[in-house]
Symmetry: C2
Subunit: 339 residues, 2 copies
């Protein structure tokens, strides 16, 4: 109920996912409004049910306050359904801070994780790069970024299927002398953990495929995410503008428009649908507030695949065991330094 | 002497600027190395002189320490030439933090400015957006961002020629409840200053031309800058890859390649050449460490135009008077609130 165009887009996306992939879906929110939207679609034979929630956390609400106060908010009720076993995954295009807060509040965090992170997959020249956090955690301490790095590494290995994921810390330069207070301390801790940590990476490295995981705080990650979408969009428009300036190139466009379409598909966030929320004891998929029907459909599809394949359970186990092992290394290092 | 490919690229760029625009240039650095490079070019009739400096601040050096320690570094000597009146402008592709530090150290800051900022112009769908700081100031206090906002406003009005520049503060969402500790306090101060402050803007707004000036700290600004370059490059490559996959679209490319070229020219940082350093008592143009010859040539050209038109002097006057006026407003507001 909290998305920019809720619940029309969400309902349409759910109907599309139910029809295309046969996924059973429970719509959580104001059942009267949801029913109105459902009536616009042909839902015969689809396994779509409704579950009432009287409140909504809006985009302007302070996330964790609102989640605590609004006991009957759609996002909180949705997580309750997962907790009680009536649902396997939460998919939301509402306030992402609230989704994170509700996930923590209802499902609790995995052992050793202070703050869950939203992990967004970016298409690159060769493969994919996972960037986290792109959401809620705007003011981070070094230990939070270290946790993001470990979660990203485990996710890249066990879900994306990278053998030895390379991890980079986003900074304003490659040299150790660069960075701000937060990244400098994080950098020195990450060097002591036994995974493929390559050190600082720069903004450009997100798209050249140099690393598999890029770690940053949620403020920077969110700027990165929205800048990328805005720029890919602007680049497409600028190119089209240039092409339409001459008759010959307009003619040429007839031949290349399929390439444009393929390209757009590659960078279109709607293809990925949503970003998984890592670090809570369950699966949640976070979508853009302004998601279109296709994005919602794909997010539900990916979320369903995760749940079906037990990805999240495996991830939770791995996160807990490997996280503890990593952190013990860190303690050992600290003790060695102190001693 | 401090650029990634110094001094070969710098010398070639200087020769090109001297030849194309008749600009008199002093090359500052190891005169033996500079002479070697100059000998590769035909410099007859060009007004190029050499000035010796025995030291170099490298990319790995901690900027302000190195500038203080290395009295005879090329960047410091170059600013000394401006101070003594032997030169009008410094152009550097070296360590940008060092350029900033040397500029402050030798030429001093303008009245009321605690920290100078590097202001980068980004091409957008309609016009240009100035983003500052994109450099040295990685850990900022709210007052620094306020100063960046005022400098950006004055620059947009008096140099870019925007009547009433619209200012935005880069954040992770438009709502006042978003942002981190730094932006939330900055946001509340900026609302009390009598310019066109639109509030928070997001990453995507840099390229849609919604505002004329985007304010952020140097860490975030640097990520934005490098991400944009990386993404524009990746987008071009991805599109070409898609086009070359079929014969028909390869054929079509013959007709659209000029559009691609025009587009590339629009987003190519080399066309802008450098980013002015605002807030010091003089003109300096900061180029990428990895600048090509064209970027150096254009940076020298723009810097020369600034000096020739007295832009910087006017800017300095405006900055000082308007800055003080703005800050007085702020004091008045604070007193009103306190009283």
């Amino acid at each position: 109920m909290g998305g920019d165009n809720a619940p029309a887009i969400e309902v349409a996306g759910a109907v599309a996912a139910a029809r295309e992939y046969g996924i059973p879906i429970t719509l959580v929110g104001d059942t009267e409004r949801l029913r109105q939207e459902l009536d616009k679609h042909d839902v015969r034979g689809l396994d779509i049910s409704l579950h009432h929630a009287s409140e909504v956390v809006g985009m302007h609400d302070a996330a964790s306050d609102a989640v605590r106060r609004k006991k009957d908010s759609s996002i909180r009720v949705a997580f309750e359904l997962v907790k009680s076993g009536e649902a396997d995954v939460v998919v939301s295009a509402g306030n992402s801070g609230a989704t994170m807060a509700a996930g923590m509040f209802v499902l609790k965090r995995l052992k050793g994780i202070d703050r869950p992170a939203i992990a967004q997959i970016f298409p690159t020249l060769r493969g994919k790069t996972l960037v986290l956090d792109v959401g809620g955690n705007v003011d981070c301490k070094p230990i939070h970024l270290v946790q993001f790095a470990i979660m990203g590494e485990v996710y890249a290995r066990h879900v994306i299927g990278v053998d030895q994921p390379r991890i980079g810390l986003l900074s304003n330069g490659e040299e150790d002398s660069k960075g701000n207070e937060l990244t400098r301390e994080t950098n020195s801790i990450l060097k002591n953990i036994s995974f493929e940590y390559v050190g600082y990476v720069e903004g450009r490295d997100i798209f050249n495929g140099m690393v598999d995981v890029v770690v940053c705080d949620g403020f920077v990650g969110n700027v990165v995410l929205k800048l990328s979408e805005g720029l890919a969009d602007a680049v497409g428009k600028m190119l089209k503008y240039e092409i339409k300036r001459s008759f010959l190139s307009k003619l040429g466009y007839l031949f290349v428009h399929k390439a444009f379409k393929n390209f757009k598909k590659k960078v279109d966030y709607a293809e990925y649908g949503g970003a998984p929320l890592l670090g809570i004891n369950g699966v949640a998929m976070i979508c853009h507030g302004g998601s279109n029907v296709k994005a919602i459909k794909n997010a539900i599809h990916f979320a369903h695949e995760y749940a079906r394949k037990g990805v999240n359970q495996r991830l939770a186990e791995k996160l807990e065991t490997e996280f503890v092992a990593y952190m013990q290394q860190r303690d050992a290092v600290k003790e060695a330094v102190a001693g």
